[in-house]
Symmetry: C2
Subunit: 352 residues, 2 copies
DNA sequence: TTCCATCCGTAAAACGTTTTAAGATCTGGA
DNA sequence: TCCAGATCTTAAAACGTTTTACGGATGGAA
């Protein structure tokens, strides 16, 4: 146990430990490193000294001399978004279990800052760099990621893509995703089964991979139920609450609703849309059914039926893959999603 | 500009830069360190070489040799709570502005883990360690904090307490707080002005400093308005949403409400209580008025009138105080709070 | 008893920087 | 012309660890 009362603890070096144990510093390092276990007697002498002196190795010296750095980096767009926060929580929890420190970098979704952050993390010597979240899968994306991956690999580190498209099987990165298509299909089917056929999809964020997956699921379900696909029901927009509000309000302004249900791209958008509906005298689920995606804090507050995404599990898995598995690379995990039924969907009384 | 295409960039050391510039490594270090500016000619030669080689100093070597480490640490109870997330966001933003990396440690509110994390951050050589949030101000607290502060000071670092009680004027730590008492007084006064006298205080978390501040403000306002203080209206509880729900539900079970307004200790509790009220056929604000505290995401979703706490500003200020001011210590800043009016308070029709 | 193999421990080099103390070059005044 | 002083540069030590290459015991076999 650490002594909480050491007043100004002059750094205890490995030299001190060696002196106290009556051995050389290399021996101490070996005992601590776990490699090549020396004579049990020596070992216990050293351990005792370590304990007595409450010695902790200097992480910088350790990193400098080329040892693994006990740090795992996570790069996010933002911490205030519950999506990222929960993933980060998972990573952090798993990292802590393995005595790893967590370095968090924030990019604001900007590719240049992402690059800078990844470089920084490499300099810092992180065991692995976990890149989280939604991104535009344009021409440059895969190239950029492959560059990150090889730069990190060259530095003895590793790239993990979390909730982002993989670089393909056998690619240079570890990959953890969740099932956007399946979840969206399930959500849409849920509405269709309740008799809804005019389903407004709110928040089609063209190009962004997560969004593409969700809308694909939406379309698949429509097809499976033999319902005609009306492009006019797919509304483009970003994924903030305010956007959901704006979109729904302007939609309602142009006339009475031409839909009986709403599938919001995420819970925040759903929350915004809900507010706009209420302001227009429409009640959920009495007048309009609504379903969201993510199952993050706003969802429970507003009684929203939604698709549960295991965010924390996502982070934990990402961390576990690099900490427990060998640094194989090319691994790929897809986590499942499922519907959480609350109180925002009601069967359509009669078909039109 | 970094070259995004370097395939496996063997580390560029300061030695390489020195060689290319035709000077010694010490000169390079000086030029980069900004101290003691050498001859302009030398300076530009070095800068050119640095640019050509795209050199970045190894942070570990830098830290090892005793320089400031360009890292600022933040210690939180949790990242998923919006409260902490917003503060972290502020710290991170300010740190990025100063080219600082952000190290985040999570304690789960456990004192032992807090100790361990602070030690770790000290080992890591952080410029400053920012401790955020609610805590029990028991006998040990000030002692513990003073120990952290001196241990950090001995390592050339600095302790910042953010939203926690100060160690007293001239103490060894920098301190940033926000006005819990004032905000609670304003909120309560807002209800009192609307004619409410029976105000239920929900979430009195005895011992926790933030909570103590808020309930003190509540009592002060009652006194100022000459309204008798009924201890039966102060309900103990934690600060989660589920707790708010539970407390309100059990309160309503024991009979019709003996209050006309609710002051929830924070927005999450308010959200929970709101749900319980609704389930019991009571409408906000028609039947019961409600006010919260924090102005974090749930508040806007549910149209809650609440007290705005400048969380991000709190984090930014904390970071700025250590990054811009000299490392004076003993500084203390109190940020203001103010009411945000939404739609959860209505004047009481007639006095009883 | 002598020699060889086997372990275990140690000294020393390396990691990449900062910084101190000292060396080299130059300017200007006597 | 020479020297004091100022100015700029450099060599070398230090930071705390890991690790490679080596030396010294220790034990068993011949």
């Amino acid at each position: 146990m650490p002594q909480p009362s050491d007043p100004a603890p002059r750094r205890v070096t490995i030299r001190d430990v060696a002196a106290r144990a009556g051995v050389s510093i290399a021996t101490v390092s070996r005992v601590l490193g776990g490699t090549y276990p020396p004579a049990p007697a020596t070992r216990s002498k050293v351990m005792r000294a370590v304990h007595d002196l409450d010695y902790v190795a200097n992480p910088h010296a350790r990193a400098l001399s080329g040892a693994a750095s006990k740090t795992i980096a996570i790069v996010l767009n933002s911490v205030v978004s519950p999506y990222y926060a929960h993933v980060a929580q998972g990573v952090q929890a798993e990292a802590a279990r393995h005595d790893r420190l967590c370095l968090i970098g924030i990019t604001g979704g900007d590719a240049a800052r992402e690059l800078a952050t990844v470089r920084l993390m490499r300099e810092e010597g992180a065991d692995a760099v976990i890149l989280v979240g939604n991104v535009v899968d344009d021409d440059g994306y895969k190239t950029r990621m492959a560059e990150y991956a090889s730069a990190l690999a060259a530095a003895g580190s590793q790239l993990v893509l979390c909730g982002r498209p993989s670089l393909g099987p056998g690619g240079p990165s570890v990959n953890v995703e969740f099932d956007n298509v399946g979840g969206a299909r399930a959500a849409t089917s849920h509405l269709l089964s309740a008799g809804h056929e005019r389903i407004l999809y709110l928040g089609n964020r063209v190009g962004y991979t997560t969004s593409e997956g969700r809308i694909a699921g939406y379309r698949e379900a429509l097809t499976a139920f033999g319902v005609a696909h009306d492009p006019g029901l797919e509304v483009e927009g970003t994924w903030e609450r305010a956007e959901g509000y704006r979109l729904m309000r302007s939609r309602l302004r142009s006339g009475p609703p031409d839909f009986t249900a709403v599938f919001a791209a995420n819970d925040q958008v759903a929350a915004g849309a809900l507010k706009a509906l209420r302001e227009n005298g429409l009640r959920v689920p009495d007048d309009i059914s609504m379903i969201g995606y993510d199952d993050l804090p706003p969802a429970d507050d507003i009684g929203l039926t939604t698709v549960h995404v295991p965010h924390e599990e996502l982070g934990r898995t990402a961390a576990r893959m690099v900490l427990e598995r060998g640094s194989g690379g090319g691994e790929h995990v897809m986590l499942g999603t499922h519907i959480v039924v609350r109180d925002s969907v009601r069967p359509l009384a009669r078909k039109r």
